[in-house]
């Protein structure tokens, strides 16, 4: 009986989705919200789609469900990274209990560059930086 696999998979998937919903409501700032929403929602959708693929037991449905899973696993990190980057750059406030902000003071808003220890050593004058704002 395939229900032995379907029911636990769907239960785990729905529990992860509920976790994502509770987390996005309860977490204190943008980055923790993004953390909980992206990861657990991706895994929850994956579990539920695997359960659906097992339920239908058809090669066409299996391929389509696999396509959705691969697509979610590829795009969720990319979207979260882009959104987190944009949120940090425009200065979304961090939670007051934040211990580490490793980018603090290292991001140059004028010409969109990040200072690392290497670029501090071999730093060119900023005025003739090749990508001064026009890459935006």
């Amino acid at each position: 009986m395939s229900e032995i696999f379907i029911i636990p998979l769907m239960a785990v998937g729905a529990a992860l989705m509920l976790l994502a919903g509770v987390g996005i409501l309860r977490m204190p700032d943008l980055f923790t919200r993004m953390h909980v929403a992206t990861k657990s929602a991706t895994l929850g959708v994956g579990c539920i789609l695997v359960a659906v693929a097992i339920y239908f037991g058809d090669i066409g449905v299996f391929t389509r469900a696999l396509l959705v899973i691969i697509f979610f696993f590829l795009t969720a990190p990319v979207g979260a990274h882009l959104l987190g980057r944009a949120g940090y750059i425009v200065g979304t406030p961090l939670w007051e209990g934040t211990k580490w902000d490793e980018l603090k003071g290292k991001y140059d808003h004028a010409n969109n560059t990040l200072e690392s220890p290497e670029s501090l050593k071999t730093r060119e004058p900023r005025s003739d930086s090749p990508h001064a704002r026009e890459t935006d």
Partner: protein
């Protein structure tokens, strides 16, 4: 109130509970979409809502025994990703949260 299906009784109970849990989760994400103090918060909530709706499509395709709903899930996942990327670019260019 249970949805009437042709499934076996254990699957029917499971599917109903799953839909209930997913709708509660959708409601929580909607509260964040409504309240969210900044634009990126709302975009994260929209992203989560899209994921939940894809899951609801998947469960509903079991309820009505129609695998066609998986195709709708593919299209929704594609479109929402493009929306998230566009919102991220727009937020970055606008320059304030």
């Amino acid at each position: 109130m249970m949805i009437e299906t042709d499934l076996s009784s254990s699957m029917e109970i499971t599917v109903n509970i799953m839909l209930l849990v997913l709708i509660v989760s959708l409601f929580l994400a909607f509260i964040r979409l409504f309240r969210g103090p900044s634009l990126p918060d709302r975009v994260v909530a929209l992203d989560l809502i899209a994921a939940i709706v894809v899951a609801i499509f998947a469960v509903y395709s079991i309820v009505v025994d129609q695998p066609v709903f998986i195709d709708a899930a593919i299209v929704l996942a594609l479109i929402i990703f493009l929306g998230t990327v566009a919102f991220a670019r727009y937020t970055e260019r606008r320059g304030r949260p």
